[in-house]
């Protein structure tokens, strides 16, 4: 069978603090692609977390490294250990769609492996686009069945689609 994407589900929301997509990671696929084509804030960053059978994993077990590439200034190395989320995966203070992000998620459903992610984002600010390339790991070997997007401020609009990678 040829390599392709299998659409699994999509979800969108307006004026929320976070958005959960549950049951999107299953035993059917090892790896997933998540596309966000709407990330709007009045002024804020988007982050994400994974979900297990008990809900959103909020333990301080997320490590990440992000290259922030500013079209309007110097680039910056952003990195963290022991966070309660991954990201930023996008910033907006201008709306008009706010930004777009591709996230690749590896092994989320495995109960014996860490869950890995990488992402590429083009964001929006009134002084020029901030671009991000990042990687992150949830250092808990347990099965994750969903993804939770959480804003650093109220999320004006968000739209996400989840695909299985065959």
């Amino acid at each position: 069978m040829s390599t392709k994407l299998h659409f699994i589900t999509s979800s969108s929301a307006t004026s929320v603090s976070d958005l959960s997509i549950t049951g999107c990671f299953t035993a059917e696929y090892d790896n997933y692609k998540v596309l966000l084509d709407d990330i709007e804030f009045s002024d804020g960053d988007m982050y994400f977390r994974f979900m297990n059978a008990s809900g959103t994993v909020t333990s301080a077990s997320y490590d990440d490294a992000v290259l922030l590439q500013r079209s309007y200034g110097g680039f910056a190395d952003n990195y963290h250990t022991g966070q309660t989320y991954l990201g930023s995966i996008g910033y907006d203070n201008n709306q008009q769609g706010g930004g777009a992000t591709e996230i690749n998620v590896y092994n989320p459903y495995s109960s014996s492996l860490y869950t890995f992610a990488s992402w590429s984002n083009t964001g929006m600010s009134s002084i020029g686009t901030p671009v991000r390339k990042g990687i992150g790991v949830l250092k808990v070997a347990e099965s994750h069945t969903g993804i939770n997007f959480v804003g650093g401020a109220t999320i004006s609009n968000v739209n996400a689609r989840v695909y299985g990678v065959k």
Binding site: K4, S10, A100, S120, T129, P130, V131
Partner: protein, 210 residues
């Protein structure tokens, strides 16, 4: 009766070679078994191979796809320059200027640089490549919201190439066309004017959503 219950009994089924009459349950079961021909949610719209020309995609099929994947194969130039794209929201009568981008470039000689602009005539994907036979660029980009007249158009990109000093290099980043518009066409080419390339093969895919 076959495993899937369709008629005729027990036909050999495989992806790309299905036989018989299928019920919805048959299709569901075959799809889960990777035996049903379904061209899926990453749909090839068009592949174009050009020589001494720009590469224009004149139908993004934005009625069916809001987001796209573009793959680049062996982009080659007749003279040293950068590679990028421009979009048209007037059916190709003109191609817009005023793009923002921020790319990280690095090469095998240890040179790493920031490439960025808040107002360039094209959206940069990589540079520099030239007319040397091995100086080629390959890679991909995702294009977002081209079909949405209420949103700006975004892209993220990743390229590998041999530059004009014969050094392997990478460039990845993001680009923005900061205008609310539905995009009708996209042009790939040499330099900030998106001029003719020596040769290139570029494929445009639609990413299906429901």
């Amino acid at each position: 009766m076959s495993e899937y219950g369709y008629i005729p009994e027990s036909p050999a089924q495989s992806w790309g070679s299905n036989k018989g009459i299928f019920t919805p349950n048959d299709i569901y079961d075959l799809t889960r078994a990777d035996k049903y021909t379904d061209y899926g949610q990453l749909d090839l719209i068009e592949t174009k191979t050009v020589s001494s020309a720009v590469c224009d995609f004149t139908d993004l099929k934005t009625g069916s796809y809001n987001n796209h994947l573009v793959t680049f194969t062996d982009i080659h130039f007749g003279s040293q320059s950068e590679f990028g794209y421009k979009v048209s929201n007037d059916n190709g009568a003109s191609f817009a200027t005023g793009y923002q981008f921020a790319n990280q470039r690095g090469n095998a000689s240890g040179s790493f640089d920031e490439r960025k602009s808040t107002s360039q005539d094209s959206a940069r994907l990589c540079g520099d490549i030239d007319d040397a036979s091995n100086s080629l660029a390959n890679g991909y980009m995702y294009l977002y919201n081209a079909g949405d007249s209420q949103k700006f158009t975004f892209s993220t990109s990743s390229m590998v190439f041999v530059d004009n000093t014969d050094t392997p290099a990478m460039e990845f980043g993001g680009q923005l066309y900061p205008t609310q518009a539905q995009i009708h066409q996209i042009r790939f080419g040499l330099g900030t004017t998106c001029a003719s390339m020596a040769s290139a093969t570029i494929s445009l895919y639609g990413i299906k959503a429901y």
